[in-house]
Symmetry: C2
Subunit: 575 residues, 2 copies
């Protein structure tokens, strides 16, 4: 079976199954979504108009037995940043789409009428159906209803109310093995799906298997790869405390942005730390470790229960906890968990939205620390699309404009996440130069700046940050194309066997002979393709800058400013 | 007396009187504000932060007896567009500042605390005073109160509630001879003044006279100049019907954007036309003609009374009437007049805000035609700064983002005014290439495309539009530097005596010998200075584009799209 492109035109409600063009044959995940968007989307088009396209693609190894290979990439021109955008998440759909022989699902056009639709994807093609029952519903109800309507084995890719309302912070949600919510979080891709008036995409279960050209070689490589993953100490920490292990680490580093980025340490850090979270989960009979897609060996997710030991949220990440916690000064993990649940249900980026609350608090909307106020606004305003909800749903930059706040931590209009670039300068290079706006996952220098993975680069020095960020952004673009979770990067950076085993798996899967250089070249090519799109959309090096307050306001405890010169930032692209 | 720069630093509440640098000696009005902003403001700064500067400058001929020379220029980096910005208006302050010997008032920095201030300008300098009584008040109350507090002869430059709230569509208001409101309307300069926490600037009356180097030559030139103005038929039409004479003309041309730019003709055009307005004004004992600054010989303004013959609004312009009228389908001139009054009082751009209502109507906020709904939202939401008010106050682009509307008529995030670029292609070139976002006053091709002034260029043809717009933009930049009202351009284009007389006045005023080429070179230099600022701020030719819907949706009755090629647009800058 040769993989195919499934194409859906929402203007005339037609679908097609197409051969994969030769140029895209070696691509998957982000490499594929970015190349399709770059080839088929006019860079200056309106992100919510008929000329934008939503591209959904499993990775090169998705659907195989490869450990941690279940990430699904979604790509389009972003309504939040105006740049090209890829966001990926776990869940079950990536592996299912791959097993159905679908290289990518390309959704283009836009209905002429207000009718809402769903897509039903099988190995034979896509059907487009009118949908009424689930319109206006949250992601949890969508999943529950579809589990009844279609059966629990179906994959579900959906938007909540935020996506229906085309909020710029809306995300795309992907059902996980426990019928909970994973989010392709950043950049408003849920609004693109909403603009096409698609509430959900149901992916049919299948007994198909992905063809492996050299099965024995694949199995051996996967064993070595999985061993490298589970042996790495960061994998182990992630398995115990989840990503939220970072609260205390980043607070200690003085880089935990607090009170809308006015300090680097949060007095309430213990209350929201990974350690406190772990104890709370255990005491309430939750699950401290849990996978977001079948085959994950790291298990960084968890089930966080409420005081009555009932499910509250999962995939409860450091960056979301930081954003409502330290950045909004909410030192109550239950309030944060409740907000996380609501944001998953509404289908809105928990980083963007929570940073937006920090800006709004500075603008006087709420007092810092007012967790119940945040919950009220999420439910009553964002969920119902009141004017205030639409302001908040437009993201941090939008909130800054609405309330006249000038300390607005965004790059290319996307909220800066949980690591202050003044105190960890490598991540500042990533925020500035990323093709997709501020995003720690694009080149996670925290690994080397703070965690000592892949060497050591002093976070407070100006030296070596550009090279660090560049190498990581190139590697990340390649990893994001494999369907692999980014958390394989820790092992890949430190273990001699991990990356060769990953390449061996790709070669065994397709019967090819890539080298490490080929993979690096793939990463570089993806970055350059993405950047070319942005330049054609009107972006310049002036957009590769942090907001001026980072240069002017020293942050405690190190009392440092962002002091990397513009020319140094721009040297990132010298490759 | 040599003119001086008066400089106010709102960070440390200090003021200085400075010599005029030689490079700025020959500049006034827009030429001066744009050069100061280009020289002193970091192009990438936050427009509402301490690094932006508000520059207020009378024109080269302001304060003299020259006809129509009372325009005041305000300049800064715009919070609406992110570009450099100049907006000018009539009123009494330009002439008073010039007579006080003030070449420009430069306001920089930003207070550290929430205190509000006023500035008091005399020939000796500026004093900074705390202000409490007028905070939260509209422009009409500001003027009335200051007339009592200081005397009616004081000039007043103020912001309303919109500027206090730093709304991106807030304007700067200037008291006119009748103590009514003139607006430096576009680009949110009122928000910049608000960010500096200055509620108003009082300008002391003076008996000083502006020195004229060659008085007799000046008088003779002014006589010839004024005669050319009053003799021109467009001046005469403006004097009778005001700018609103254009409703029927542009409707007939099929270029009156209607129902959020979905048609070129408005069924209700007669109800809102200049002719209807004139009859209404006469019947209600208003004033059909009226000047906005002393010395105007065109008198395009008027006093529009309500049904009880009481003052309702003045300076009731075609573009504002079009925006709420045709674009929002409100066919009731009293509703539009009431809205105009409220917007003047709140200090918010009536073009930007009304186009924003058209977008909001498409987004479902109100029905098209709901004038009372517009009035309610202006009073209850914009005036009170509710979340909905803050969405509307952010301008048309902001409203499009909030409600997920894709038909959003903006260039560089500034609303396109009252002439559809599909049916009048010259003005489309101006919208696209203007250094300041969509703005008809930057290069008013309507003169030649529609009114037959300065020749004739077919509005529907692709031919000649770039050259037309270029020549007019260059001339406009020069005129905007003289303190002259732009309406002198009609006579300047057609009369052989008008422009030479204007140049003679400048030469007689300063004892110099400029030629027509010098004036053209001044205009070109201003445009290039402004563009260089924008490029340094990150703008590219991709920003010199109309929204894609103009290329895709033909407009009735001509059923034409915007079909000027990108390369043709970009050739604008070949000079």
């Amino acid at each position: 079976m040769t993989d195919k492109i499934f194409r859906v035109n929402m203007s005339d409600l037609t679908t097609r199954v197409e051969e994969v063009p030769a140029a895209w044959a070696g691509l998957g995940g982000r490499g594929l979504t970015s190349n399709v968007v770059a080839a088929e989307v006019e860079p200056t088009c309106h992100p919510l108009g008929k000329n934008n396209k939503l591209v959904i693609a499993p990775g090169l190894l998705s659907g195989t037995q490869a450990a941690n290979s279940g990430r699904l990439s979604c790509g389009a021109k972003s309504p939040l940043t105006g740049t090209i955008k890829e966001a990926n998440a776990g869940g079950t759909s990536a592996q299912m789409l791959a097993k159905l022989g679908i290289k990518a699902l390309i959704i283009e056009g836009k209905p002429q009428v207000d009718t809402w639709y769903s897509l039903h994807v099988t190995a034979d093609g896509v059907s487009i159906n009118e949908e009424t029952e689930l319109i206006g519903k949250g992601n949890y109800e969508v999943v529950t209803t579809l589990n009844t309507r279609l059966g629990e084995k179906f994959g579900v890719i959906s938007i909540g109310q935020a996506g229906e309302m085309k909020m710029a912070a809306a995300n795309i949600s992907i059902k996980d093995p426990g019928s909970r919510i994973r989010s392709s979080g950043r950049g408003g891709l849920g609004a693109v799906m909403g603009s096409k008036q698609i509430k959900f995409i149901a992916v049919a279960p299948t007994d198909n298997k992905v063809a492996i050209a050299r099965p024995e070689e694949f199995k051996a490589a996967n064993r070595a790869f999985a061993k490298a993953l589970v042996d790495h100490p960061v994998s182990q920490a992630l398995g115990q405390y989840g990503t939220n292990v970072l609260v205390n680490i980043i607070n200690e580093a003085g880089a935990l942005p607090t009170r809308n980025f006015t300090s680097g340490q949060f007095a309430g850090h213990e209350e929201i730390s990974g350690e406190t979270m772990y104890d709370t989960i255990v005491a309430r009979e939750g699950k401290p470790k849990h996978n977001c897609h079948p085959g994950c060996v790291i298990n960084c997710s968890q089930i966080y229960n409420d005081k009555d030991n009932q499910y509250k949220t999962s995939g409860f990440e450091y960056e979301s906890i930081w954003a409502l916690g330290a950045d909004c000064c909410v030192d109550n993990l239950d309030h944060i968990a409740e907000a996380d649940y609501i944001m998953d249900d509404l289908g809105i980026d928990s980083i963007e939205t929570s940073v937006a609350f920090g800006v709004a608090m500075e603008g006087g909307l709420l007092e810092f620390g007012d967790g119940p106020g945040v919950l009220r606004i999420l439910r009553e305003d964002v969920g119902k699309g009141t004017p205030l909800g639409r302001i908040m749903g437009g993201g941090a930059g939008n909130v800054g404009r609405a309330f006249g706040v000038t300390r607005v931590p965004v790059v290319k209009n996307q909220a800066i996440p949980a690591y202050d670039p003044r105190a960890i300068k490598g991540i500042g290079i990533t925020y500035a130069t990323s093709t997709q706006g501020a995003d720690h996952t694009m080149g996670y220098t925290i690994a080397t700046n703070i965690l000592g993975v892949g060497g050591k680069v002093d976070p407070l020095s100006q030296e070596g940050q550009v090279e660090l960020s560049r190498n990581l952004q190139i590697a990340t673009a390649a990893i994001d194309s494999t369907g692999m979770c980014l958390f394989i990067a820790f092992a890949a950076l430190d273990s001699e066997t991990c990356l060769p085993a990953l390449i061996d798996m790709i070669n065994a899967r397709f019967g090819i002979a890539l080298t490490a250089d080929d993979v690096t070249n793939l990463g570089m090519s993806i970055l350059k393709t993405e950047r070319a799109f942005n330049i054609a959309a009107g972006f310049t090096s002036q957009d590769d800058r942090l907001p001026e307050f980072f240069q002017e306001e020293p942050i405690a405890p190190h009392n440092v400013v962002w002091d990397i010169k513009d020319e140094t930032i721009d040297s990132f692209w010298n490759f």
